[in-house]
């Protein structure tokens, strides 16, 4: 297949060549340009000259340098320390390293020692460092809405709890999934201390059905540990395992391991309703409505049992699964027990249990059971609950029937929340005892049985907050801090199980804290047989559209809604920021006469939501996809009232109709910006062709002469290669880059004006029919051209070439003509339209004293009127070079890791020296799949790509 035969398109307006799109595309500047008169120009000139002259007269302000009085031994000003810890961004609990500069954490990266996550970190995990510096965090505990001291709070709550116990009332701790074994032990002990106390686990987005189904099928009420690394064929049913489902970093790492083109490349088939990140990576994707999950699974099961009995089957997927029995994996994201039972039966029939579905070392990443929560809310409404402690949950926002929860909460005489802010729930409770951020606290985690991980504080609490465990310990009258409790737990429960060679417990503890992770020996597999009955048929849904609810890569279940980095992270598929919307298939939209941005009422007999329409190629015909996690009202200034809350739709997902309201809004999408005008930017092939010819799909190369002098081939020549086959589009690199390079957040309005500032973007191209297109994700950043078009047009030499092959942008020379951005064929240059760091209009991160603490001190915060772009993390290159120089040794390949490369869970990005023959990047430059984007322009970039190979 030649990529020339295929037409790639970024949006429907491009595919259909709508007049508006063509008009915008043909213009030099998409936005209107203001007209300046000669008079105004002279006035401005005069003013700036006077201003500059006056500014030069000022004396430099007196600056102070305040050293430590007594310096901690490990802190050297200007030198970063790295500490191992564990992420609390979601319950996946990835092992992390936190970079601490001069006492404040500024960057989060994956911990390569972690056997599960192997150094990857997702967008959310990396953005948690910004949540630490969130101004909306509570700075003190609150009693009845007023600030109080911890002593007062402890006294009041202690008294209340005692009263409840005396009158024999029920106390409930309502928490999200607790991945920490020590915290679980503490909660158990707590519940035993108080008579009639119990612990209820509630997950807003739960895996309750999987837990129940496994209990029925295998007698284990747990989430299995899915082993994507052992699967040669993965079949997904509405499970976005590369994006948001259970443990996306681990699954991405495991999945991409065998996705390198070879004879035994993993194959992936996805049945799904909306276009998810996972579906966009599938070799075959079949759109189905959510109500078809069960019937689809049932058909597959029947066909497989036919194959087993020798009757044969014409179902391609079933044949494929049968061929790969024992090394295939069927996963479903459905929260219907019956669907999960069918999936269990299928995995059992295929012999996957104990292989790709590990029920002996189970995952502890989702523990919530929906029925228990429902029972609790009923009890609350009947006035049976006397004390309610809310830990890491926000049911007033994310419980589907939040009104019922709120009315129940009002009947609870003593309610306490550990929420870090005054959110929807904690603004209704008696006492708010703000929990510390995970970077400020001690804890541990056990995401999968036997895979332990420790959380250590990397800075003192910024505010008068206290970790929830400390509060619980105080209230149960235990005079011990949580650190001691944790250490004791590890001494008693974990140390005896460890197999490593340690001199003493102290030695074991220090090493575990230093490494951050610890592996205990795995349980031996036990024979498990499927038992129970499989449903015979599934009910047909009522007439009308169905709603498919999903989590977004950035906001997940909504707990990170006040994180502006995540709000501005474009959705990897729709490329929309700062909003959720109703995704409709092109066919349905045109049948209903809807256009992109039309505000519609999505309603059935129970609920109704007002959402803008987004037309999504590949969307199942009768399904509306709506993202959860939006529509927060009490999370903080960045996230309040962004989008609409879709949780109320969970219990009633069918029978919808869509009604026009007549209004239209602009969705802040980065989708059709930076159009590449239909040229072959991405190259792809299929596995069969690749095996015959490693440069299949990449046959044509342009060998052009150049009038420019070649750059000298001595010293270093930095280069990068990006494997399109590995990249899943997860967008972790965008946040990593943003954190590393002080990239500002610009807000929804500016994004609609095409002024987003991300240095690395993920281009997403569709090909094929709009009902079910194929997708490619392509990370795009400055290509560091050898013959850079930007350099030749800069009138002030603000962008010049370095001797090691980088295209340098010198901010203090730049006068902002924007010629370079105009002449850049890759459209990767970003202009500072405002002084984002000192402008109240952009009150996201850099404008508050607290927010600036996350800035990387090695990188300049750019001011207004300056162009910026990817520097290939020049600060990391310099740091690596200097380290080697100081130690008097040559640089090793792979020693310098740029931010995007480091964070990539799929390891799609490789950086290194092209002049070093043995370096990975130089080797990849000779790969048959290697090509440069827009070779015909002869700009000779040092960033190249490897073709995508589809296994179909």
């Amino acid at each position: 297949m030649n990529s020339d035969d295929k037409k790639y398109w970024k949006g429907l307006e491009e595919l259909r060549e709508e007049p508006q799109f063509l008009e915008v595309r043909s213009k030099e500047f998409p936005e209107e340009i203001s007209q300046t008169t000669r008079r105004n120009f002279l006035k401005l000139m005069g003013f700036s000259f006077t201003g500059a002259a006056l500014a030069a007269c000022a004396r430099m302000p007196v600056e102070k340098a305040i050293p430590f009085l007594i310096k901690p031994e490990e802190v050297v000003p200007g030198v970063a320390n790295w500490y191992a810890t564990t992420c609390a961004g979601c319950t996946a609990s990835c092992g992390l390293l936190a970079k601490v500069r001069d006492g404040r954490p500024i960057k989060i990266e994956g911990n390569a020692e972690s056997p599960l996550f192997q150094g990857g970190a997702c967008a959310v995990g990396q953005a948690t460092v910004l949540s630490l510096y969130d101004d909306e965090r509570l700075k003190k505990p609150l009693w009845l809405g007023n600030a109080a001291s911890w002593e007062e709070i402890d006294q009041s709550i202690g008294k209340e709890l005692k009263d409840i116990v005396n009158r024999g009332g029920k106390i409930v701790i309502l928490s999200g999934t607790i991945v920490s074994p020590t915290t679980r032990a503490l909660l158990n002990e707590w519940c035993q201390t108080f008579t009639n106390a119990r612990h209820v686990v509630y997950d807003a987005v739960s895996a309750s059905a999987i837990l129940s189904a496994n209990e029925k099928s295998f007698g284990v009420k747990a989430l299995p540990h899915y082993r994507f690394d052992l699967a040669k064929l993965v079949v997904g049913l509405n499970a976005d395992f590369l994006g948001t489902w259970i443990s996306p970093v681990e699954f991405t790492r495991a999945y991409t391991q065998h996705r390198m083109p070879s004879h035994d490349m993993t194959r992936h088939i996805q049945f799904e309703s909306g276009m998810s990140l996972t579906g966009s990576n599938a070799d075959r994707r079949i759109p189905i409505n959510p109500s078809e999950e069960g019937p689809t699974a049932l058909t597959l099961l029947k066909e497989i049992s036919n194959l087993k009995s020798g009757a044969g089957s014409s179902n391609e997927t079933a044949q494929d699964l049968w061929k790969h029995r024992g090394e295939s994996l069927v996963v479903s994201g459905s929260n219907h027990v019956d669907v999960q039972i069918v999936v269990n039966a299928m995995n059992a029939l295929l012999g996957n249990i104990g292989k790709t579905v590990d029920l002996d070392n189970v995952s502890l990443q989702k523990q919530g059971v929906d029925d228990e929560m429902n029972r609790l809310v009923d009890e609350m409404n009947r006035g049976e609950i006397q004390g309610l402690i809310l830990y890491g949950v926000n049911p007033a926002y994310d419980f589907p029937d939040s009104d019922r929860f709120i009315s129940g909460l009002k009947k609870v005489p003593c309610s306490v929340s550990f929420s870090d802010r005054l959110d929807e729930t904690s603004s209704l409770v008696q006492a708010v005892c703000p929990d510390a951020h995970f970077l400020e606290s001690w804890n541990d985690a056990e995401p999968v049985q036997g895979a332990l991980s420790l959380t250590q504080p990397v800075l003192r609490p910024l505010f008068a907050t206290r970790s929830a465990q400390e509060s619980l310990l105080t209230w149960m009258g235990k005079n011990v801090d949580y650190y001691t409790y944790l250490r004791d737990y590890w001494r008693e429960k974990i140390y005896p199980l460890s197999t490593g060679l340690y001199l003493t417990f102290d030695n074991f503890w220090d090493l575990s804290v230093q490494n951050g992770v610890l592996s205990l020996p795995a349980q031996t597999p036990t024979e498990r047989n499927f038992s129970g009955s499989v449903p015979i048929a599934f009910q047909n849904p009522p007439k009308g559209l169905e709603v498919h609810l999903y989590e977004k890569i950035g906001l997940r279940d909504g707990r990170h809604a006040n994180n502006p980095w995540l709000q501005e992270l474009p959705d990897p598929v729709t490329k929309i920021t700062w909003d959720n919307y109703a995704a409709l298939s092109p066919k349905t939209a045109s049948a209903l006469g809807l256009e992109e941005g039309d505000v519609v009422l999505v309603k059935n007999d129970y609920v109704s939501l007002e959402l803008p329409v987004q037309i999504q190629p590949g969307q199942a015909a009768l399904t509306v996809s709506v993202a959860l996690g939006y529509g927060r009202t009490h999370c903080g200034k960045a996230g309040n009232n962004v989008g609409v809350n879709a949780y109320p739709l969970i219990p009633h997902p069918t029978g919808f109709r869509v009604e026009k309201t007549g209004r239209k809004v602009a969705l802040a999408a980065t989708q059709t910006h930076h159009s590449m005008e239909g040229r072959p930017i991405v190259k792809e092939t299929i596995l069969a062709e690749y095996i015959n010819n490693p440069s299949a799909g990449n046959e044509e190369h342009e060998k052009l002469l150049t009038l420019w002098e070649e750059w000298p081939k001595e010293g270093r020549a930095w280069g990068m290669s990006i494997d399109l086959n590995a990249c899943t589009g997860c967008s972790a690199c965008i946040i990593s880059c943003q954190a590393e390079n002080n990239v500002p957040v610009v807000g929804k309005d500016e994004v609609t004006r095409r002024r987003e500032m991300h240095w690395i973007r993920l281009d997403r191209y569709y090909s094929g029919p709009e009902e079910n297109p194929e997708t490619v994700h392509q990370p795009m950043m400055c290509q560091h051209c050898g013959n850079a078009p930007c350099e030749t047009v800069c009138p002030v030499l603000a962008t010049v070439h370095s001797t090691d092959g980088l295209n340098q942008q010198v901010y203090n020379r730049c006068v902002g003509t924007r010629y370079c951005a105009n002449n850049c064929p890759y459209k990767v240059r970003r202009f500072n339209w405002f002084d984002y760091a000192h402008n109240d209009q952009f009150d996201y991160t850099m404008n508050s004293e607290l927010g600036t603490m996350v800035l990387n001190p090695d990188i300049v915060v750019r001011s207004r009127g300056v162009m910026e772009k990817c520097s290939l993390c020049i600060q990391r290159i310099q740091e690596g070079k200097l380290q080697a120089k100081r130690e008097g040794r040559p640089l090793k390949d792979g020693e310098i890791r740029v931010a995007c490369e480091q964070s990539c869970p799929a390891q799609a990005i490789t950086f290194g020296d092209l002049n070093e023959k043995e370096s990975r990047v130089a080797q990849q430059n000779h790969d048959g799949r290697f090509y440069h984007v827009l070779e015909e322009l002869n700009v000779r970039p040092v960033v190249g790509y490897l073709t995508k190979v589809r296994n179909k």
């Binding site: 430099m60 007196v62 200007g78 030198v79 001797t803 990188i859 120089k885 100081r886």
Partner: protein
């Protein structure tokens, strides 16, 4: 007539003077050469580094390890002053700061703008003497910015001396600064 000539000459002289002053001054824009502020504690480099010959890196140990040479923390001063000259009024100030847990607000003398990255350890490793950039510190009773610390000044030194080539490029001519990028903008500006 004579008066007119006199006035004319005086006017011309004044204009020339003003212009030359402007030129002279504008060369120093942004440079604080000669800056010598009073410090909260009258610390003398002359006594320590000059008379007593304490090596610079004893106190400014950061210069070997990282970007900032740093002002020594008070506990480093106390290594000696817990025994020596305990009663001097300036040492009493130091003692008080430690007792009150109140860090000392030194006035920064050598300041680089935020857009210039400078790393001390890089230069110390290359055996550049401290005095090369900081002047005869061992003779200064009060710390003074001796050199202009402007970009032209940095570059002129790099042009003259080249930079220490990294290990793997020892075969390259040491003066070929250009080949190993000593003059690239993004060596300091990022």
């Amino acid at each position: 007539m004579l008066r007119k000539v006199f006035i004319g000459t005086a006017l011309l002289a004044t204009i020339i003077l003003i212009i030359s002053l402007i030129i002279q001054e504008s060369r120093r824009v942004g440079s604080n050469q000669g800056y010598e502020p009073d410090q909260p504690i009258a610390y003398s480099h002359k006594v320590h580094a000059g008379d007593n010959k304490i090596p610079c890196l004893y106190c400014h140990f950061g210069a070997e390890q990282g970007r900032h040479a740093g002002i020594p923390p008070a506990n480093v001063c106390m290594n000696c002053h817990s025994k020596i000259k305990k009663d001097s009024p300036e040492i009493v100030k130091l003692r008080e700061a430690i007792d009150k847990n109140q860090p000392i607000d030194w006035i920064k003398v050598h300041r680089l703008p935020d857009f210039a990255y400078f790393n001390h350890s890089q230069h110390v490793t290359a055996n550049v003497p401290c005095q090369e950039c900081h002047g005869p510190v061992e003779t200064m009773t009060r710390m003074r910015q001796d050199q202009p610390l402007t970009m032209g000044w940095c570059i002129s030194c790099h042009r003259e001396r080249g930079i220490m080539p990294p290990e793997e490029h020892q075969d390259l001519n040491r003066d070929k600064t250009k080949a190993i990028g000593g003059m690239d903008c993004a060596k300091c500006h990022y």
